[in-house]
């Protein structure tokens, strides 16, 4: 009895009350989508000078309302599955929706200042950001392979365009082309994997897949091939080694706010997808994907950290650091369980603030001639603008995992879950890899505090400064009082595990 026959025989009973109930489950996503459409209209009909500010205001309002919806639902204990199980408004989704709303707001202010200084159009960048955010949120909320894929493409397409946003800049163009090709390649892998998993399980709904696939099906070659394909595709998306080669080029070529946004946003969304698909849909063949992900994790941590050491561009350095950080987070995914998933959720939030903050610092260095993302451009930053130098130091130390900053606590949660899950060897590799990472994070710090001939004070940029300051303060506060987010992470982790039958 498949869906087509059902539709042909009887009228679908879908009363308005259920329609509203379903809509309320995706309220944050719907809000953002509406905001985006309104913004597109505004961009089309308003006179040119007013487009940028108005679109920014609409975007900001949409993000605030989306956050409010998500937070309200969160306070009421979270939502439930909607649209016949295709999406959900559970706490896991809400956690990411709130996180992405905050990220979106930070991106707005940074983009605003950036386009002003570079002389680029403003409105479209905000619209693209909103579109990507819709995709990210939908990805976190998707509970069917179909919605997962649609959300993934929504987010990817918006980012392909955003990467090439600096149109006169050939590196930006090159990055966009590269990203498009590799992204399409990865999507093909994901789609193929989904098709195979569907073939093996007979459903696209993750809970149904979980029920259909029992542990003794681990020898089913179709299923295993599907899992491998999915793992490869997902690894592309989180830029895990050996599928990471596109990352440094794309991060370097994309305009700074886009890099900042996608380096944390895509990663968070992709991890939401991995946890959702692997953790709840394919929980019964966890041994199989754990091995695959462990391989990717080890390689990411080693390759990412080693390659970052020799970079001269901070953007590339952070790209490689992001590869390695993805490896750490995979450790948490592999560990699984409530603690493991909560640790990944916590680390993602931490990563958003640390990494975005670091990129936002670079935004302040932008001027009409372009971006200044070489390590040498940072030389003496601590003396040219002391607060900025201190904050950059905070971000680097936090990424390196020094207490009392949030990066340390995040790593502690990840490693704790992994040791408890019996993955001690993986943790040992992770800590040794993070020793390597200290070398290049401190290299950035070294440049920041090396006196330079350039003594001119930097032009003030209120927007990025606010984002940097907020990120820095959060990196410290969450390091000292981690329970603020940890509780949310544990709550957010629960629905995935319930779905997986733990």
């Amino acid at each position: 009895m498949n869906g087509l026959q059902l539709a042909a025989t009887a009228a679908v009973d879908y009363p308005p009350s259920q329609a509203f109930g379903d809509l309320s489950q995706i309220a944050p996503i719907a809000t953002l989508a509406v905001a985006m459409i309104v913004a597109i209209l505004a961009d089309a009909v308003l006179p040119f000078p007013r487009r940028g500010p108005v679109v920014m205001a609409i975007s900001a309002a949409g993000l605030v309302v989306a956050f409010a919806f998500a937070f309200g639902s969160w306070l009421q204990g979270g939502g439930h599955s909607a649209y016949f199980g295709f999406v959900t408004g559970d706490n896991f989704a809400l956690y990411f929706e709130m996180l992405f709303s905050v990220l979106g707001l930070m991106t707005l202010v940074v983009s605003h200042a950036y386009v002003r200084r570079r002389g680029l159009y403003e409105a479209e960048l905000h619209i693209l950001t909103l579109a990507a955010l819709v995709g990210m949120m939908a990805l976190a909320a998707a509970t069917s392979l179909v919605t997962v894929f649609v959300a993934l493409e929504t987010l990817s397409l918006a980012l392909y365009v955003a990467t090439g946003y600096s149109r006169r800049d050939t590196t930006s163009q090159e990055a966009a082309a590269k990203y498009l090709l590799i992204g399409g390649f990865a999507s093909a892998f994901v789609l193929y994997g989904m098709a195979l998993v569907y073939g093996a399980s007979g459903s696209t709904l993750l809970p149904e897949i979980n029920k259909a696939i029992t542990a003794n099906q681990a020898s089913n070659p179709i299923l295993i091939l599907g899992v491998v394909m999915l793992a490869v595709g997902f690894s592309f998306k989180i830029s895990g080694a050996p599928f990471h080669q596109w990352t440094p080029d794309v991060y370097q070529g994309a305009p700074l706010p886009v890099t900042a946004f996608m380096s944390v946003g895509t990663k968070a969304a992709a991890f939401a997808m991995i946890i959702r698909v692997f953790g709840s849909g394919l929980a019964n063949v966890s041994t199989e994907w754990q091995v695959l992900l462990a391989f990717v994790a080890v390689l990411s941590m080693v390759v990412g950290n080693l390659a970052a050491i020799v970079q001269s561009s901070v953007k590339r350095l952070l790209a490689y650091s992001g590869i390695a950080q993805g490896g750490y987070m995979l450790v948490g995914v592999i560990a699984g369980g409530r603690d493991g998933v909560a640790a990944v959720l916590f680390y993602l939030a931490a990563y958003v603030f640390m990494n975005f903050g670091a990129f936002a610092v670079l935004t302040v260095l932008v001027d009409r001639r372009g971006e200044h993302d070489q390590l040498d451009d940072l030389t003496g930053l601590g003396y040219r603008n002391q607060p900025l130098g201190i904050l950059m130091t905070v971000f680097m130390l936090s990424l390196a995992g020094f207490p009392p900053l949030v990066g340390f606590i995040g790593k502690f949660f990840l490693f704790r879950a992994a040791v408890a899950g019996g993955w001690t060897w993986l943790v040992v590799i992770a800590v040794l890899a993070s020793v390597i990472s200290v070398a290049y994070y401190l290299r950035v710090v070294y440049h920041v505090w090396t006196p330079s001939a350039e003594q001119a004070h930097l032009r003030r940029m209120p927007g990025p400064l606010v984002a940097v300051l907020a990120s820095g303060i959060l990196a410290l506060i969450l390091g000292v009082f981690p329970t603020l987010i940890l509780v949310a992470g544990l709550t957010g982790a629960a629905p995935v595990l319930v779905a997986a039958g733990h």
Partner: protein, 495 residues
Amino acid sequence: MILTAVWLLPALGALALAFVPTVQARMVAALFALASLVLTLVVAVGFDPAHHGYQFEQNVSWIPQFGVSYHLGVDGVSLWLLVLNALLTVIAVFATDRRMPRMRGFLSMLLLLEGAMAGLFLAADLLLFYVFWEGMLIPAYFLIWLWAESGDGRRAAIKFILYTLVGSLLALVGVIGEYIYTGARSFDLAFLATHHPNPGIQFGLFFLLGLAFAIKVPLFPFHGWLPDAYGVSPTPFLVTFAGVMGKTGAYAMLRILIPLLPQPQAWWDWNAVMPVLAVLGIFWGALMALAQRDLKQVVAYSSVSHMGFIVLGIFSLNQQGQQGAVVQMLNHGIIIPALFLLVAWVAARTGTRDRSVLKDLAPRMPVLTGVFLIVTLAALGLPGLNSFVGEFMTLLGAWQLQPWLAVAACVGLILAPIYMLRMFQGVMYAAPGEQLAGPLQEAGRNQVAARADITGSELAIIVPLVLLMIFLGLYPYVVTHPMPALGIPYPVPWR
């Protein structure tokens, strides 16, 4: 609450320095350092030697989901180390040259370091301990790198931080392993001390945790970072760096390795390996000290040798040895900063730290020579001065464990007078008729004017340390008396 103030006050001082003008920075830093010294003395006065368990406890849940608590407490082991930390920071602040570049940053890093180390001595929770343990690396890194007084500060700083991080990140695995494998699901030290995993697990955890502590001490053969780091460090920082941070490793051994992992046996017994490494360290440090020409390196390697005694005492696994180790930690924390200060003052007056060039300084700086003599004698363990007490107790403990270990350590004790007295004699005196050689003669003449003795302010800095050497040598009871008041149960109870 007072314990929170003890570590938070210097940290706040570091923050406050960002808001004061550079000219007043030294004064503000001194105020904060003195205030925290007063706080620690208040703790010391209020300390009850008869009480068992932590005193002035503060226990607040920090991450309740994972059994982490913000648990501070002071006991007989940590009490005097806490005071030492505060005292040395005061001295370091006063020893800071007025012409120090980027003064505010330097002082705030010093205070931050004090705060982190105080927190480390106070922590009664394993994860909290680890947070402070890692936290103190940050100011230390910046102090070595940005304020290096000679040589390649960046290289030394990176070497220091990579060395220590290899250890301490593995220690994080150890900390987590302790939490998982004891089945206790708690990081409380007192609780963990009564819940031991099986010896095989202990063996692994001992390695993970012990490596970090051994690197920090540093125990032979993990001392590679020390000559570089000590060599480039500015003297005021060395006062707390060599004086206190080296002790944190030994303190961690005594506080964590001994009570939490009493039977680390699988392929071999770690408890039997450590004393051997300690004795090797005593020898190696002494021999390397003999071979050095740079005065600073002589002191640095003598520190390696002395730390060997401390570790030997700790792993003698009996009361005399371990108490001796604590006493020796304090003594070493008093003597080594004094030596570094004196070497720095000599170098400031002569323009060199090369032992083979310096000669016959005594007539030109008689008071400095006198002070140097007392400190030298204290360092080589003359009875009546403080170091003798600690070394004696340590050797007594070692004898009970293995007589041949004590004998071997005594041979190391003989090497100490050789390198210390050779240094003192060579620098301060000259054989009759001996002259400074060649072009260095000129340099020496020009820089060391007729009389370039110690200044009043320098004297004010060093005299408290010298008085402490004499006082503790004559009356060590002050230190040993509160020691049996332990916060956590030990395998060997202290009486």
